[in-house]
Subunit: 150 residues, 2 copies
DNA sequence: AATTATAGTTAGCTATGCTAACTATATTAA
DNA sequence: TTAATATAGTTAGCATAGCTAACTATAATT
C-alpha cells in the first residue's frame, strides 16, 4: 500500500518529468527559427533582456541570464562586434561597464522575438479556448515558481 | 478598436512568449543538476532515448533528438568512450550501426533523470493542489501539441 | 599606504550545433 | 555484370557557449 504522501511525491515527479521533456522539445523547435537570424540563441536571449529591462552591467546581465561573467563577457563581445550593443564605462565606478542596446539591436531583437513567438503561436492554433486558458494559467504559475526558485 | 481576431492572435503570442521564457529558464536551472553527473546534457538526453525506446541506429537517434547525423555521431562517440553505449554493426545492412545502452548506461541514465526530476519536483512543493492540477493538464496539452507539431 | 575586494577580461578546456567532403555498403540501371 | 546512384556514418573544420583559473584595473578598507 502507498501512503498519500508517497502518491503526492510521485505525482510531483511525474509532472516534473513531463515539464522537463516538454521544455527540451519546445526549445529545440524554437531554436530552428532562430537559425534564420544570424545571431545565436544565447546572444538573442541576452539582447532581449537588455532591450526589455534596460541598461545594466555585464555582471547583472550574467546573473539575469544565469551564466558566469566570462561567458557573458564573450556573449557581449559578439553582440558588440555585430553592433547590436554598446559598452559605456560607468562614470561612478570605473570597473563597471554599462551595456546599451543599439537601435539596430532593439530592432533585431523585436524581429527575432517576433519570429519565434509567431511560430510558437501558430502552433497553438489547434488548441481550444479552454486549453489555451489552462496553458495561460500554467505559464503564470511557472513564472512565479521560477522567480522564487533558488 | 481591435477586432476579436486580433485579440486572439495577441493572446496566443503573449502565451507563446511566456512559455518560451519559462522553458529557457527552467532548463537553465535543471542543467545545473546535470553538472554533477560527469555527462553533458545532450549525451544524457540521447542516452535517455536509447534506454527508454530501445536499440536504434545513429540516424534514427539523430532524428529522434532533432540533430544532424554528424552531431549524433560525436555524441555517441562520447557515450561509447564512457562505456555507456555499445555499437553493433547491423548484420543485414553493413552501413548501419545499432546502438545499445550498456547496463552502466541504463543505470546512469536512471540516476540522472532521477536527480533532475527530484530537483524539479522539490521546487513544485510550494504549489497548491489546484496549481499542480493546472500544470499537469498543461503538460499533457503541450505534449500533444509537440507531437503533432511539424 | 598597503591590503583586500570587486568588475571584467583573457586563455584554455570541453561540448554541441552546423556544413562539406569523405568512406563504405546497398541498390538500381545499362 | 558492371557502372551509376543512393544511403549510413564518419571526419574535418568552423562557430557558439558553458566552465575554471589566472590576470588587470579600479574601489574600498584598514
Amino acid at each position: 500500500m502507498q501512503g498519500q504522501k508517497q502518491q503526492q511525491i510521485k505525482a510531483r515527479e511525474d509532472l516534473a518529468d513531463r515539464m522537463h521533456s516538454a521544455a527540451i522539445h519546445l526549445l529545440r523547435r524554437v531554436r530552428k527559427q532562430d537559425a534564420t537570424m544570424a545571431q545565436a540563441p544565447a546572444r538573442l536571449s541576452a539582447l532581449s533582456v537588455l532591450v526589455f529591462a534596460g541598461t545594466m552591467t555585464i555582471g547583472e546581465l550574467a546573473s539575469a541570464e544565469q551564466v558566469k561573467p566570462p561567458t557573458m563577457s564573450r556573449i557581449v563581445a559578439g553582440l558588440e562586434r555585430a553592433r547590436l550593443v554598446k559598452r559605456v564605462r560607468d562614470a561612478m565606478d570605473g570597473r563597471r561597464v554599462q551595456l546599451l542596446a543599439t537601435p539596430k539591436g532593439a530592432k533585431l531583437m523585436r524581429q527575432g522575438r517576433r519570429r519565434r513567438i509567431t511560430y510558437l503561436a501558430s502552433q497553438l492554433k489547434m488548441l481550444t479556448r479552454d486549453e489555451m486558458a489552462i496553458l495561460d494559467e500554467s505559464a503564470g504559475i511557472l513564472q512565479r515558481v521560477l522567480q522564487s526558485w533558488t
